[in-house]
């Protein structure tokens, strides 16, 4: 099965678009949040919002792990990278994220040895191939990427690689979802649930959304047909008066998640008591740190970090965008002072940030409606 072509099949999409239009016609206006940055990106990349009825609004959530890193932590990473003998490895997305006054890209231009990798295992390989370098991997991501960091830590320990450490900024998805649902004035009708996070944690952890908040949640894939099907399933639940957790992404997500990955996470990480999220403030038990057994590979135990809390620039409304309280274009500096080339906040810099996605793909608002005839 060539998933790229089959889940982008225009015929399948048209059927779903018609079904969505029909379901939406008999319901009040709906607001659905897609938590995942990957969903935000896919929605804009494939122009899906222009295909949905006007009465359906997609609200972009905080599921971009790069977007939620506070500026102070970027400054901490830069201070590590600037030290003699350090080679910092990170994902490409992090290079242009603004810290208090600089970025990793600028630090690299000024001489810091910062290298883009696609996997933490690449960083470990660099450490083994270059024993005179002190290699630090800047780990970010939700539960999706935490297992690969865990494997890397385990291999570093097994092979006793002493010139390698991890600057851990992994976060978990459930606490920010709860924080958003608890936000005053937050009115959501359902969630397009995380896709790849769910491959690790399964769909069980989202039960609180339906049980405690009475909202439907559909764990959804990232191809256009996946997203349309997810929206259709949410509308169907609402039409039938149900509020359940459903799995649209069955080809990849098992409801029980990946027990091996979860076990690995438990062996390498523990929950921090609290962690600062850009725009959402401090959230308890929402982030991972390396356990004591891995102290030798914990960058925070080897480097003196400035650890300064940097307040967001006054003009920055990233927090409100991340909570879905405002749309990207409603931010006062969207497209003017804050653009992909001159980002003020992380929502504009990360390829999964709502503002970047909208700016890069959605500024052109010609809504092309597919004519729909009732069945």
């Amino acid at each position: 099965m060539k998933f790229v072509t089959e889940f982008r099949d225009p015929e399948a999409a048209k059927v779903l678009i018609a079904e969505i239009a029909e379901l939406a016609a008999d319901q009040p206006a709906r607001k659905f949040m897609e938590a995942c940055g990957g969903h935000t990106h896919a929605i804009y990349r494939h122009g899906i919002e222009s295909l949905l009825p006007e009465s359906i609004e997609m609200v972009h959530g905080p599921g971009c792990p790069v977007c939620v890193i506070p500026m102070g932590r970027i400054d901490d990473a830069i201070s590590i990278a600037e030290q003699d003998g350090v080679t910092m490895c990170c994902f490409g997305d992090l290079m242009r994220v603004p810290g208090g006054s600089s970025t990793l890209l600028e630090a690299k231009a000024k001489g810091a040895d910062i290298r883009v990798v696609y996997s933490p295992l690449d960083a470990l390989a660099i450490a083994e191939n270059e024993p005179d370098r002190n290699v630090v991997f800047f780990a970010v991501g939700f539960e999706t990427t935490a297992p690969s960091t865990a494997i890397t830590a385990m291999q570093a320990r097994e092979r006793n690689v002493s010139n390698f450490s991890i600057f851990c900024n992994h976060v978990t998805i459930v606490p920010p979802m709860k924080a958003i649902l608890d936000s005053p004035g937050m009115e959501l009708d359902g969630f397009l649930g995380p896709g790849h996070v769910s491959t690790v944690i399964g769909t069980g952890p989202y039960q609180f959304v339906s049980r405690e908040y009475g909202l439907p949640l559909v764990a959804t894939g990232f191809e256009p047909v996946d997203i349309l099907q997810g929206v259709a399933m949410l509308l169907r639940q609402l039409a039938e008066g149900r509020a359940e957790v459903e799995n649209q992404y069955k080809r990849v997500v098992r409801d029980g998640g990946n027990p091996a990955a979860l076990k690995m996470l438990g062996g390498v990480f523990e929950l921090r008591p609290h962690f600062e999220w850009r725009g959402l403030g401090f959230i308890a038990q929402s982030a991972l740190a390396l356990r004591d057994e891995y102290a030798d590979w914990d960058a925070e135990k080897h480097f003196e970090l400035p650890g300064v809390r940097v307040a967001d620039p006054k003009a920055c409304q990233c927090g409100e965008v991340l909570k879905g309280a405002i749309r990207p274009w409603e931010c006062k500096v969207f497209g003017t002072a804050c653009t992909p080339e001159t980002p003020i906040g992380t929502c504009m810099v990360s390829s999964e940030g709502a503002c970047a996605a909208y700016f890069n793909y959605g500024r052109f608002r010609a809504k092309k409606r597919i004519p729909v005839t009732s069945a």
């Binding site: 790229v4 982008r8 225009p10 999409a13 048209k14 678009i17 804009y44 990349r45 494939h46 122009g47 899906i48 222009s50 295909l51 490409g92 290079m95 242009r96 696609y118 690449d122 256009p224 992909p340 080339e341 390829s351 700016f359 890069n360 793909y361 959605g362 500024r363 052109f364 010609a366 092309k368 597919i370």
Partner: protein
């Protein structure tokens, strides 16, 4: 010459420099004008022709990759710039900056590639220069080529000529070169059957202009890919460029590699392709002319010009959605040409 590596002496302008010029450069692509070793080439411009002049620098790493090398790129890059300006590429100047310690054997290979590419493109190298820098001050070998092409005074290509309703044609599959170089770098544990598309396209541009003299504008989509070239056009001509995703000619290994790496083929460099804007009623003639040549055998229409979103490029998805295709921000693929 028995030297095995390039030394600082080779760049000093004395005997060693002369020996290098003779043994390596002249022996590969020497000719009447170059062999005079004057400070400049004296060239005669035929009646009725205008001069088109272009220059390009080449810093690609790795220096060889599936489908070609820095030597091929150095010739084809400038040849293609001249070609899309409607000129017949005629003369080249080749300047090289060499790093102390570069093996002579490697230099000979690069120069052999330059010679072969020049012969294939029917251009003559008439001027050159060689500099050597200390170990560490350059990465092996950097090339700069400047080229002169001759264009009929009747040829008129300009962004201002582009009109709503015109068709956007690409001469073949896109994204091949950038992805081939990226994978050849070996940083990624990805293997795919990918080759650079580096090739001279001047015969294809000439065939197009002969069949469709009203061709409005052409460009070779190198760094920044098709997306950047279309954005430049949208701004220069103040028109909207609409692209249709279902028409895009992209090889499956290219789209597969792009999917895995989160890249969009629209932004990936090409070194043997060009974009042409032609009036809508000339599309058939244009495609017939292009498809008769191997280098443009897969030419196809990928979009059209409109006045709905002047200055912007918009891609239409196969199921009715649309998205902006913006100028590239940042440097996702460094040193691919």
């Amino acid at each position: 010459m028995t030297d095995e590596v390039i030394t600082m002496a080779h760049g000093a302008g004395g005997k060693a420099s002369q020996a290098l010029t003779d043994a390596v450069f002249r022996s590969a692509y020497g000719g009447e004008e170059l062999d005079r070793l004057d400070d400049g080439a004296v060239l005669d411009i035929p009646e009725g022709k205008r001069v088109v002049f272009a220059t390009d620098a080449f810093v690609v790493t790795p220096r060889t990759f599936p489908g070609g090398s820095i030597g091929d790129l150095a010739v084809n890059g400038t040849v293609n710039d001249l070609a899309v300006m409607g000129a017949t590429p005629t003369w080249l100047a080749v300047a090289v900056v060499l790093e102390e310690g570069l093996p002579l054997a490697e230099l000979r290979e690069v120069v052999a590639d330059v010679a072969a590419a020049a012969a294939a493109a029917n251009v003559t190298v008439v001027a050159g220069d060689t500099k050597v820098v200390e170990r560490g001050a350059a990465d092996g070998c950097y090339l700069t080529t400047s080229g002169i092409g001759l264009r009929d005074s009747t040829v008129s290509l300009a962004a201002e000529r582009v009109r709503p309703g015109d068709a956007v044609i690409i001469s073949g599959t896109f994204g091949d070169h950038g992805m081939a170089v990226m994978l050849a770098r070996g940083d990624l544990a990805l293997q795919a059957d990918l080759s650079s598309d580096t090739a001279p396209i001047h015969e294809a541009t000439a065939a197009l202009l002969a069949a469709v003299p009203e061709t409005r504008w052409m460009r070779d989509p190198t760094r920044g890919g098709v997306a950047s070239a279309c954005n430049e056009l949208a701004v220069a001509a103040n028109v909207g460029v609409a692209l249709f995703e279902e028409t895009f000619p992209v090889l499956s290994p290219v789209s597969g590699a792009c999917e895995l790496l989160g890249l969009d083929p629209l932004y990936v460099a090409n070194e043997g392709k060009f974009i042409a804007i032609v009036p809508a009623d000339s599309v058939d003639a244009a495609l017939t002319a292009l498809r008769s040549l191997e280098v443009s055998a897969q030419a196809t229409v990928i979009g059209e010009i409109n006045d709905e979103h002047a200055g912007m490029v918009v891609a239409h998805t196969p199921f009715g959605g649309s998205r902006i295709v913006d100028m590239l921000v940042g440097a996702p693929l460094p040193r691919i040409c």
